[in-house]
């Protein structure tokens, strides 16, 4: 067992993410949320292990499955849910939605709906801190499907060449959209690519939040000491389909059952000896989500008056 400094905080945040994602799923099923939803149930260990290793100034960029990352960094669940439900009071005024959530004041800069589209953004953020000297790390979380894109390769190369203060966090959940990784590449561990460019790379059990945290700390220490980027490949599993409504028929039920046994929350509770505290932590998380839901559903829908605002800094006609 790896000890962590704030086990109860991490546990409660994992419960918050789980409760939040389950609620989003329910609301979607009840047709109270629009759009193409990608949930991270089962991957909470990576998001929380990552967030607990960062400082507030560090800038995290998420992908299309990023609710967990925003919450892990401290995004307000109510404002986040409002955004996902297209409300005027959501983080992005309802203009972004599930795939484009942002909570920059928490260090969760933005998400993107384009596979691997966030990797160059994080690269630029890390580059900016080398110029401005603000000491912020660039951090990017992406899935294994991003590993076959050109941007992935280009970004590893530039990060290594320039020695950027950057963490690549690959959440390898075994599936790129609907295909197992083996159908998309012969490369089993994407960390192999990082090694090619001389980037220190480590593969960890992503369902072990403490192990993720330890790997993140190593990477953070390296980057802050001027040692350049680190690549962390966290092996995990998506307990839901690629998107809500995905029947997931491409997966074996036995595989799903196996992974349910490795639930990152249960694992963390057992490893950290939090059996006594867990039910209350879960209850607190669910209460927060209940309140967030009430607030979100009561919030006004995005206002059409805001349709033409923020296209550019200069107001458009």
């Amino acid at each position: 067992m790896t000890s962590v400094p704030d086990p109860l905080g991490m546990l409660e945040r994992m419960w918050l993410i789980r409760a939040f994602e389950e609620r989003v799923s329910e609301l979607y099923a009840r047709n109270q949320i629009a759009g193409l939803l990608h949930l991270g149930i089962g991957q909470e260990g990576v998001a929380v292990g990552l967030a607990w290793g960062l400082e507030p100034r560090d800038r995290l960029f998420g992908g299309h499955r990023a609710h967990a990352h925003a919450l892990a960094r401290g995004a307000d669940p109510a404002r986040l849910l409002m955004e996902i439900a297209g409300r005027a009071t959501g983080y992005c005024g309802g203009k972004g939605g599930t795939m484009h959530i942002a909570a920059p004041e928490t260090g969760f800069v933005t998400a993107t709906g384009v596979v691997a589209g966030n990797i160059p953004l994080a690269l630029g953020s890390a580059y900016a801190s080398t110029v401005s000297g603000d000491g912020a790390l660039g951090v990017v979380a992406f899935g294994d499907g991003a590993g076959q894109t050109g941007s992935f390769h280009e970004s590893l190369n530039i990060a290594a060449l320039w020695g950027l203060p950057l963490l690549f966090v690959c959440e390898n959940n075994g599936y790129a959209e609907f295909s197992p990784l083996s159908a998309h590449t012969k490369v089993e561990r994407l960390a192999r690519h990082a090694e090619t460019y001389g980037i220190p790379a480590v593969t960890v059990d992503g369902n072990d939040a403490a192990a993720v945290l330890a790997a993140v700390r190593d990477g953070v220490d390296r980057a802050r000491a001027g040692g350049g980027p680190t690549f962390i490949e966290a092996l995990t599993y998506r307990l839901r389909g690629h998107y809500e409504g995905d029947p997931g028929k491409y997966r074996e039920l036995s595989e799903l059952a196996d992974w349910k046994q490795k639930d990152p929350i249960a694992r963390f509770v057992a490893d950290q000896g939090l059996e006594a505290e867990s039910p209350a932590a879960e209850a607190r998380a669910r209460a927060i989500v209940d309140a967030a839901t009430d607030a979100a559903l009561a919030a006004p829908h995005a206002s059409v008056d805001q349709l033409r605002t923020q296209v550019t800094a200069e107001a458009v006609a």
């Binding site: 979607y28 629009a34 759009g35 193409l36 939803l37 955004e83 297209g86 409300r87 005027a88 992005c92 005024g93 309802g94 203009k95 972004g96 939605g97 599930t98 795939m99 484009h100 993107t112 709906g113 384009v114 596979v115 691997a116 589209g117 499907g145 991003a146 076959q148 894109t149 050109g150 790129a176 959209e177 295909s179 159908a183 998309h184 590449t185 998107y243 809500e244 409504g245 995905d246 029947p247 829908h301 995005a302 206002s303 059409v304 805001q306 349709l307 033409r308 296209v311 458009v316």
Partner: protein
Amino acid sequence: MSSPETSAALGADPSDASDPSVMSDPPARAGWSRLSYAEGMALGLREALASDPTVRLMGQYFFGLTPWRRLTVDIRERFPDRVWDPPIAEIGYVGTGIGAAISGLRPIVDVATASFIFQPFSQVVNEAANIHYMTGGQTRVPMVIHVNHGIRGGGAAQHSHSPQAMLWNTPGIKIMTPSSARDVRGLLRTAVEDDNPVFWADHAKLFDYVDDVPDAEERIPFGVAEIKRAGTDVTIVGTSLMVRRALEAAEILAADGISAEVVDPRTLVPFDTETILESVGRTGRLVIVDECHQSCGVGAEIAARVAEHAFDALRAPIRRIATADVPIPFGRPMEELVEPSAAKVVTAVRSLLG
């Protein structure tokens, strides 16, 4: 009539989808069948695969994530060795499609959501579109590039693009934007047999519309517009899903005694300017409804042409109904406001008729 668009909403399990044989009414006439747009697509794909052993499908999201995607499963079962699922590497697999086309195959490459065309944009506009020209006519690139374009509900700014106007500014690539089961099937057959790259833009909200389709094989030529509804007071030109919105508008206008003619160009490249000019010659008024952004959109080119060549026939300025010039917002009320609608077409027509 309730719009079938709603049932194309994302996310339902395919097993929940209504059986198309139940959805389809009995054949309207002998030798014709009533098919949904999605079934028309699937028919065209199956016919193309059956008629030419060099046809290949690259990609698996022809029907997006709608329940109709089980039709891909059906195609895969019939042609198990002719469908390839590439990795999420659009530059790589679109380029693979180009090379395969150069070397003897006729690939139909699916880029799925049209917003993702910007990933392999260089392959599409710098390579596929230019190769025949740059080589002085030596090499041909007979391929079809498929996307599902447009505002589909909650897709927000990165899953709602209609990039066809940008490609209309790009010499060397043909563009088809069908609006009915019959058109998509017939145009697809022509596209697959064409020796040029063809950009094929579908709209997920078209998939459920049902129309008559001839049982016999049919190839619809490119560059021939179809008058989808005859009228005398105003011409409405629509493309893709917007043909449906135009027809809805014409229906509403008819109740007011306004006779609208609805013209569907069906292909942007080549483009049938003549049919539109003839129609405008009769009606004297033109409204264009297209789902690209307005600035430099498809409507701009049509308006500029008609304004130049039918200047004397026009009795009123040409009006464009397009997607507002903002990134597509996520929230529903805003999304409804930015997209072109039948109501907006009706308002525009009324403003022209005073």
